[in-house]
């Protein structure tokens, strides 16, 4: 199980809003696939999947606010 964590995005940025999930729970992803799009201020950015596997849990949904360091989803590599 690998957690997909919101990384550091710059000075003074402590959170972002989930704007779009490219995958649903239960779907297979490859390492580096764009997994989720987030928004901060007037910028969107994508988080790539850190590994290949199945999206076993989406913790934050579209419209939710996530803090830096929090897990957005869990990928099952088995």
């Amino acid at each position: 199980m690998t957690k997909v964590v919101l990384p550091e995005l710059g000075e003074g940025i402590d959170k972002a809003v989930v704007s779009y999930w490219y995958f649903k729970e239960g779907e297979k992803v490859n390492e580096k696939d764009d997994l989720v799009e987030l928004t901060t201020d007037k910028a969107t950015f994508n988080l790539p999947s850190p590994c290949s596997g199945t999206v076993s849990e989406i913790i934050f949904h579209e419209g939710d606010t996530v803090n830096v360091g929090e897990a957005l989803a869990i990928i099952d590599e088995s």
């Binding site: 995005l9 201020d41 007037k42 910028a43 950015f45």
Partner: protein, 218 residues
Amino acid sequence: MEFKVFNLGLVDFKRAWEFQREIFQEVKNGLLESGLILCQHYPVITLARTANKKNLLISEEELELRGIQLYEIERGGDITYHGPGQLMVYPIFNLNYLKKDIHLFLRQLESITIALLSDFGIEASRYQGLTGVWVRKEKIVSIGIAIRNWITFHGLSINVKKDDLANFRLIRPCGMDIKMTSLETILSRDIEMDRVKDGLIRIFRDTLSVNLKEEVVV
């Protein structure tokens, strides 16, 4: 870092959107350090993925009748309008060469356009924590970017010509009741788009300490 300027002229939004993706791939693959695309668009309304469609104040059929295109795109922000009187600025910049800081880059884009407007004798500023650049309470520069792999795309639009502001009445720009202004409206004279472009390239270079590799017409 070096950047290459691409002048596209007056093009469909879609053409510039595709061109951005081509340059993005070149930057991602290391063929180019960074690119700056400059162009003007035929009338188009763009919606961010998180935009509220209620901010589009006329029907899609009416838009078609008026020859205004509509696209949903992957930048940040809400809804905006672009037309031939605006200078569109798409920096495809690799922040791995600068600083990996999303808000810093947005503030730098604001600083660049504030300096540009200052060269024209216009005192512009940031306003109440709202991204973009304002002259008093009217907006002159709109910003909405996307970042993938720390490479930026989409960008900003500068209202240059005075005739192009009427279509903003078809939307609530950025989802707010904003009045737009332009260089020509403020200065009450004609402004050459090329003068704005040349000034902008110079200020990009100086503000970000980046070198202009070459400028091409595409």
